[in-house]
Amino acid sequence: MGAPVHNLATTIMDSTSKKEISAQRRHKRHRVSNVFFKYYFLFSILALCFVLGLVFIFIGKTALLLFGQISPADFFLSFNWTPEEDAFGAAAFIVNTLSLTALTLLIAVPISVGMAVLNAEIAPKWMTSFIRPILDLLVGIPSIVYGYLGLTVLLPFLRRVSGESLGDGLLAAALVLALMVLPTITRISDDAIVAVPRKYRDAAYALGSTRLQVITRVVLPAASRGVISAVILGMTRAVGETMAVVMVIGNTPQLAKSLFTPTSVLTSNIVMQISNVEYESTWNYALHMMAFLLLLISFVLILIIRILGRKRRDQA
């Protein structure tokens, strides 16, 4: 009689302890996987930082070798870039890059902000839901496609309109770039304008404002930080764009004295010459210094966006 009871008791005990053990195991397994994923995510972000650091170190290291061979003044202030005669003045490229970016924004910003306002404030819903996906598509078009269109469609058109026989230059490049940054600036400003609280508009209307007044005096000022980050984001793309620019700018290392002077900017000059230089030459170091400059410019621009973003959060 005793034996079956005993057996039953053991079975029950066994099953509870088994349950406990399996629960413990599960707990342990979860802990292990949690720890594992923690380190995996940490590793991922560290790997990214590591690569970023390497980019800075390697580009910077080669770039700084330049100043062992020529003085910074020769590089930053001279307009004469003639590698075959050992003249490495990058001032023309720097000025050209700045003027190309300025010209691009001059063309693109008014149009994109106008489009953003239309999208966010004026257009009926069916129209916005049609325009927004189209803009997203435009962001994704590879730059070489824009460049090719510039070469085969825009340049012949500019030649006919201006009477120039070549057409390459700052204007052609700025037009192509403007088309490229347009969707970026529009979409981000659009989001910034939509984010302006409805009560602002209601209050303005209640005070008797017209729609134009609401947009220009209330909504745009309230969204200004977002619009400015949109413009800066477009700017980074314009500064760094290479392939589309190379195809329509003329690639001649000289200062652009007119809109139709064939010329060259930092990016286009690097990509044109980097495959034809010797590794250990002043020429190569000068090209690396130009790349380093681009890196610094885009870094500064992104820093500005971050600071603007923080200020906006603090205000809200």
């Binding site: 070469l151 010459q273 230089v277």
Partner: protein, 286 residues
């Protein structure tokens, strides 16, 4: 999950088995083995790739890795020990305008590359002399009517400094003359493909390119001192704008590298695949 695992295992086993069987076939073939790295000129890349494909069939134990960039990267990579062969559009063991000689390197001729002066299809001129070309590229001649064409500005399109095509064109077609940049009607391009597009889409443009690229209706080759640009005229000696393509090696080539260069220079390859790729056999010029 389990099914997936099983599948993965099966797939892996299959891959390993296939690789092993291939390795087995390779081991049976011959004794020549090694790894050859070829760097340098994009102009010679199609030739290198074709030769590598054929050579690896004959000697499966030899691995050939080829890549193309600017001409000057060929001899440089050899100098640094990155590559065994540096493909270059000029003889890098001697000084050329802009580039110093690479000491201790041997230039192995592998092909003859003809170049052509090209103009947009709207240009009426069909012959240019050395002096006229020198005038155009130095900026002294700026209108087509000065060389017998209609009254229109000449748009000069050139390759950027350091290009192998430019080195050869300057040396042969311009007899060492300068290419001077201008503020108007002057443009530089980064590759043979860009050059073709630029001349083809710009009315009144002039440029220069490897002869193999002269196809299609947008560009046409002009005669040089009265001689048409054609492989026949290069071979009979009347057309002067051509250059050898070289494989640069550190000292005399040895082992697998030597065998590979021998194969490229062999009559079978030169008269067969090389001709098909529109290069000219080196034997034709000797």
């Amino acid at each position: 999950m389990k099914v997936f695992k099983k599948f993965t295992v099966t797939a892996l086993t299959a891959v390993i088995a296939v690789t092993a069987s291939f390795a087995g076939v390779a081991a049976a073939a011959d004794s020549l083995k090694g790894k050859i790295t070829v760097n340098g000129s994009t102009a010679l890349l199609p030739l290198t790739l074709q030769a590598a494909k054929e050579f690896q069939k004959l000697h499966p134990k030899v691995k050939i890795a080829a890549s193309g960039k600017g001409s000057v990267t060929g001899p440089q990579a050899v100098k640094k020990g990155i590559a065994d062969i540096g493909a270059c559009d000029w003889d890098a063991s001697m000084d050329v305008p802009g580039f110093k000689a690479f000491e201790g390197q041997v230039a192995n001729k592998v092909a003859v590359i003809p170049f052509a002066t090209i103009v947009n299809k709207n240009v009426g001129v069909d012959n240019l002399t050395t002096e006229q070309l020198k005038g155009i590229y130095s900026g002294k001649i700026t209108n087509w009517k000065e060389v017998g064409g209609s009254d229109a500005d000449i748009v000069v399109i050139t390759r950027s400094f350091g290009s192998g095509t430019r080195v050869n064109y300057q040396a042969k077609a311009l007899a060492g003359g300068d290419i001077v940049k201008k503020e108007k009607n002057y443009k530089e391009t980064g590759s043979s493909g860009d050059m073709k597009t630029a001349v083809g889409t710009t009315p009144n443009a002039i440029g220069y390119i490897d002869l193999v690229y002269v196809t299609g209706g947008d560009i046409k080759a002009v005669k040089y001192n009265g001689v048409a640009a054609s492989t026949d005229n290069v071979i009979n000696g009347s057309y002067k704008i051509w250059a050898y393509g070289y494989y640069m090696t550190k000292g005399q080539p040895t082992g697998a590298t030597k065998e590979f260069i021998n194969y490229v220079q062999s009559k079978k390859f030169q008269q067969g695949s090389l001709k098909k790729l529109k290069f000219i056999p080196i034997s034709a010029m000797q």
